[in-house]
Symmetry: D4
């Protein structure tokens, strides 16, 4: 992440990865305040056995793009809402990459941070059957959870409906 | 609705329908977490005698569009303000449907949720004279309420004006 | 429509209605240049047996809202791209209606105009089985057309793929 | 104003007018909930001796435009921030009027409400020398107030500067 | 106007004023390239008998605001679409004036330029009965023109409708 | 892709994949016109040995999200500029996915389509050393090409500079 | 600054300058409420030995542009988030200057205010070796601070990772 | 500049510098395609006697920020309109820099490119009296040119006015 103030957002990703048994490293590296560090981390990542990079940053969010410039690993960008412009600045700075250097951009803020981790799992699952199974289970769990919530709401709805009918 | 966190917004619609004696069902179905459920609900709605579908969702609000893809019933979409982007994401995701599959989009948030119910009543009233009468009464009530508020404000205004004149 | 310059957009709706055997009237009425005419048309529409109103307008697109103020019929609003602001002005002016007076808003421009007609058909089909059948057929035709296009593209794709493999 | 919930914004205008001895009326009239009332007020305003109309409304803010459609008086529009879209909806709905029916639009929210009253005074001052004098005095007062604030800040600034120099 | 490249837009205002017998002056004065000239023109306008100021400018459109700073005359601002940002820059720069110094802002581009002239007429008409009559006539003419266009369209519409019916 | 009108954009991806020896399938499937087909394609993709899905769509671009709902494969979304709203609608509809169902979003239009293919290669390269080598070569080629362009420009620049110095 | 309500933002700049031993003056001057004062300050700045001007303003933020019109000194503009439009109004009003009169614009709000001071230092450092040294030290300090934060986060991350592995 | 396709925009800066006798280098360096080259150029610029850096880039315009990360020289950023999002992406990516690393941002496109050169001159003029004189002359020339244009327009205006009077 570009700053430790991004932690409350980015720990959504960390928690998800930890919960699914994915080994990860979490650090701070700024495209602007520590450019050499950011370049070095990205350039060395493939050699160190890292498979996917997740970068979260706000404002003129250059971090994901700068990392992508230094590695052939997939780089996932999380735009963070950290200025009066509501994260639109970070979204456009992250997603509008020029031809040749993609950043896989996800939603602004916490929803995006969690999804960055899910996307990382999906990428890792291409060569890890255990993770693929995990993802299939997760899809079923989500389905089940929504159905539970639906049942609760429908009960209320039926009561509302019968009240309306009477 | 796409998530039970949308309930505080969508219950504006439910309350209105209940108040006007319209039988309704309320449930949760996510275009992304329970796509089969969403498709099934929409595809079976016409057979089960449902006349109008109201879908409320935030962020990349695909629910209304996905339901509309599976039914010939009118689908009303309520964009919900559920991300740092203030509901502009949900509005554009709901309204910008491609030719052939309309979503009748209303305002972002609670005002839109209530209006979804009013619009549903207007559609139902095309073949239900009782509801048409209800809607005419509602228009008169709104007119009366605004006039009452106007009288109160005007009294204050006149006092202000006479103060200014003196 | 608010101006006859909107005709190239709004005739998308007219053509669709004519193609599906729906009797319609098309006229110009400006919320700002002919407010009395617009009010009268809307206020008298229900009595004259009109079932659905479609309003297309650009810029500060008040037409749909003004018509909706004078009728309990469903009013469908088509925002038209008629200023340097790309139709965002017309979209927000049409969709952001206050509680009590909905406008069923569709996409900006030609896609929206066609969808306004489809939505009108969906509403009419609630009490006209022939139109419901039409809409089901239309859904099948769309599906078939996409599949035809898909086959053509896939043929090209397979050639591309075999070229890549060799 | 379009709703009595707009009062906290619009009373900025009322206070300013009262402070400068301008006789005004303040009322609620909705372009959508009381269209006949809004039209009647606007259409009759000139005859009743009203010189300038100020309309404040939020969301799809049609009020100013609808009033302007019914009168040749100058109509000043105050876009009000009353939805998740931050007043951008009200701004575009108010300012983007079609040729022939202008609305003199001011800033979103309280600043705009006050400025609507100042603009009204400027218009009235075209045929009222007393008000012209008032406006010249107001300009001088603003200048003086800013200079006072400047002196206070500069004192602090000099202390800061001397601290820096030492 | 801020630049002679704004002439194609601003001559909409000039033509309208000339057509309605209003004496006007048209000149170029840039808030940034000729600030002294802009200030002097505005500061001296009232003395020279000018009643209303119209300012058209694009990009960071400061002209209207700068003129308003130097005069108590009503200043009408026309935002001009003169950059890749589609006039949104000029609109916000013109309309979002701070409390005390209003600019009566109209629509972006040519529609706005014409409306600036109409608004000027409405202001002048407050003390010129001939202009008030002109404005009432103009309203009737607009109404008539729209009705003519409506009749033409309706003829076409009826043909379309009868074709649909057969 | 959601429509065959998206082909001029999406063939940027196809060409890149073909050039790098990646076997791909290209087809049309609309989230709204052929929802069953879109669901079936996505649900069956993993079994058929597909590793990555690329979805390009415009307007309320639901295709990528709908595919992602039915598969655990990484889904890359290309927002296409296909409405008056300049692709902002497609961008927000694609990127703002809710927690649990990510879409790896790239830039709007042709640049994004090419980058979708590059990102797919980066994902495939996680388990294909030949592709990793290809990507490293591609990075070197890009670097070389930019340097060539730089040399040409610098020559011109030096001439400009010496002209300035003389 | 344009108003003393901008002080909480602009003191970010003052503090930074004081901390780095740069002599500065801080005052209030409004482009609209005290235009003569603003012009005079800017026009006289060069003679008084001022090297760089920093202007912070919100809404239709004309201050920086108006100062730039009256001086050949570099003018740095800080857009301030002071209206419901989130500072987008101030940003576009500050940055979109016409050819010939640049404003060096920085980020919206406090981050921008601090950066205005850093940029001023960078400009002054062109002829002040002591400041250049200061800036090099500042870059090192930023790098060090980020690395410290990184170490703390990495420690947490490693614990998370080992927890995940077990 | 980030790409040689930016040349038509950036040569506005080059021409201006050449016209005013400023020695400059012009080259291509991409923050994403040649990150090492970009870093090296920026890091070595101060030593090579460069005084100001101008960076023009489109889309997710990271170039200016990346250069600023590697140098204490003032970096001027020109956002270029090079995507369907009209340069809003480049503007936000350039201007919204985090605290500590400013980019002096100018307007989108050609106007900005020219102004980048003017701003560079203003910075250089802080220690080069010849350039300060040049800038004063330039201000006078601009004033004169506007006045000439004004005279031409006013002549036309007077004819228009007399026509209106007759």
């Amino acid at each position: 992440m570009g700053s430790d103030s991004d932690l409350p957002v980015m720990e959504q990703a960390a928690t998800f990865l930890a919960d699914h048994g994915v080994v990860y490293e979490m650090t701070v590296a700024s495209a602007h305040r520590t450019p050499a560090r950011a370049s070095r981390l990205a350039a060395g990542a493939e050699k160190r056995g890292i498979q996917v990079v997740i970068a979260g940053a706000g404002m003129a969010a250059h971090l994901a793009g700068v990392l992508a410039a230094h590695t052939i690993l997939p780089v996932i960008g999380v735009p963070i809402d950290a200025s009066p412009l509501s994260g639109m600045d970070a979204l456009l700075s992250t997603v509008q990459m020029p031809p040749g250097i993609p950043v896989a951009t996800v939603a602004v803020g916490k929803a995006g941070a969690k999804n960055a981790a899910v996307l990382a799992l999906q990428i890792l699952a291409r060569s890890d059957a255990r993770l693929a199974t995990r993802l299939h289970e997760m899809k079923k769990t989500m389905d089940r959870q929504v159905q539970q919530k639906a049942r609760r709401l429908q009960a209320a709805s039926k009561r509302g409906a019968s009240k309306a009918r009477s």
